[in-house]
Symmetry: C2
């Protein structure tokens, strides 16, 4: 199995004429999760040909503008498009007030219900759980209250070896238990071990988003063993002082977290506009953690047990 | 003389993959006035190669998102760029709260002072006046409190006919009064009429911005005789009912205002996304008021006594 991460914006601080601030769309187990929502996110969502109606959960890491200034515009567009499906927004305590103040001033309320789930940044917590996946928030260390988010698939049921089941004459009504891992007992009392009639299901995959944060060893604990870790890398080593001062990370620090966490892959982004050559970030990170990719806007990262496939969505989108 | 209007966004309601919501930059008498600030305005300002530091006055017509969702992002970028020059924002009463709530949540305050001037939508009022120009707000009729803005150059002093002044032996110290329109009296008591030694100064020009509004005859009174009137035209005649219902105008209604106001030129915009063919707006408006242009994004409209010159700024900007 696989999940897909679409990078909508990978710049820090302020959009430029050809870059957008942080936003990502995670497509996991048929669900669409929007993570952070910098100014212009709705434009990038359109360019990536995302159906707005498929987004039911939005996660905001913290209240610096480059991570949420596109939110109210997106919510407003949902309304104008006639959305009725409920939406849940996960974010810091003051987010609700910011959103509602603006809707109140416009004299409009949304055509769809919005629930706000308040995150808190001192301890990790489960903020969303279904039969299929779990989402945790976890503490990051930045200038204001900030959380990361971890999205984990739950294990699927075991795959049935249909051919072997037929040979043994197993009735369809027993499939349900077998897929849950139970052995099968025939009417004659013969026990067939589960391993003989099932395949291992695909490994559950996971994604963790860590932005913005200074380097802290705890991030590796919270994101332990995830398949893909996104960790901000605002600066390269030449500006390590500036990183510390602004409570951001360098590419090498991001890589150190990935190494300590034992993640399969690392994605870096949130580049300072001071850098023209973004390959430098990837180069420095790879010295510490070879399985590093750099976030490119309007690129999709398809992650499976086999690795990460990168697709440029610009090639099929209409560009101005 | 001339002024220049740069259209940054001309779409209504919601940005699409290749259009921006309302924002315009007026360059008049060396001053830069930003009028409305839809999401992504800062990106369009960069694309039009505008120096952010030259903007000292921002005017917000009303609190529907497509007219101000880009404001906080722009203010934030001013801060990140290290701005120290004071900024004045003119807009409806709740704008200040909306802006400050977001800065408070981010724990940041701007590096430069912001003054808020509250507009009120019941009567026209002078909101800014210098020796060089006057800015009025005037009432519009929309679903929420909305004002238009009128920018008027003040008359320049008369031009001195230097050659004739030399022939008459007029001393330099008298030039000041002559340029103000006074006759000149020689030491011998001979009176030279002002018209003999000066030229007429260029006519003062004016610009009025009327968005969003339904058609009301009063708009023509408030914008009487302006050189260029921008009037919203969200719909064409086929959706005249929809225009009434949403308190917007059709292209023909915009043209009727221009005709009644006796403006030299009309610029229309704020197009509904329902229309693919935007030339239709211009065609319908021209049937009523021939001197109509349609607003095109990233185009500059240079307005003088001689007419309007249109320049496509995309040709010289870097496009993604």
């Amino acid at each position: 199995m696989s999940f897909e991460l679409v990078v909508l914006g990978a710049a820090s601080a302020t959009p430029t004429s050809n870059s957008y601030t942080t936003s990502q769309l995670l497509k996991m187990r048929e669900h669409y999760f929007l993570i952070d929502c910098g100014e212009g996110t709705q434009k990038q969502l359109r360019r990536s040909r995302t159906k707005f109606s498929r987004i039911n959960h939005i996660f905001i890491s913290h209240l610096h503008g480059d991570h949420f200034f596109g939110l109210v515009g997106l919510l407003s567009s949902f309304h104008l498009l006639g959305r009725t499906t409920p939406l849940t927004i996960y974010g810091p305590p003051k987010l609700k007030e910011i959103v509602l103040t603006q809707f109140r001033a416009a004299g409009t309320f949304t055509s769809y219900p919005i629930s706000f789930v308040v995150t808190q940044h001192k301890v990790p917590q489960v903020i969303l759980e279904t039969d299929s996946y779990t989402v945790n928030s976890f503490p990051l260390k930045h200038r204001i209250a900030t959380t990361g988010f971890k999205f984990e698939e739950k294990p699927l049921k075991r795959g049935l070896n249909k051919q072997r089941a037929d040979e043994l004459g197993i009735p369809v009504c027993d499939y349900h238990w077998i897929k849950e891992g139970k052995d099968w007992t025939s009417d004659e009392g013969k026990v067939v071990p589960n391993a003989e009639i099932t395949f291992d299901p695909p490994q559950p995959l996971s994604y963790a988003f860590a932005s913005d944060t200074m380097y802290v060893p705890e991030t590796a604990e919270y994101t332990n063993d995830v398949t893909l870790l996104y960790h901000e890398s605002t600066f390269c080593e030449d500006k390590a002082d500036r990183a510390k001062q602004t409570m951001h990370s360098t590419a090498k620090e991001a890589a150190r977290v990935a190494l300590d966490a034992g993640t399969s892959h690392l994605l870096i982004g949130h580049y300072s506009a001071r850098y023209k050559d973004l390959d430098q970030f990837e180069k420095e990170a790879k010295e510490v953690f070879p399985h590093t990719l750099r976030a490119r806007e309007l690129h999709a990262y398809k992650v499976s047990e086999k690795g990460v496939q990168v697709k440029n969505l610009r090639e099929r989108t209409h560009e101005e």
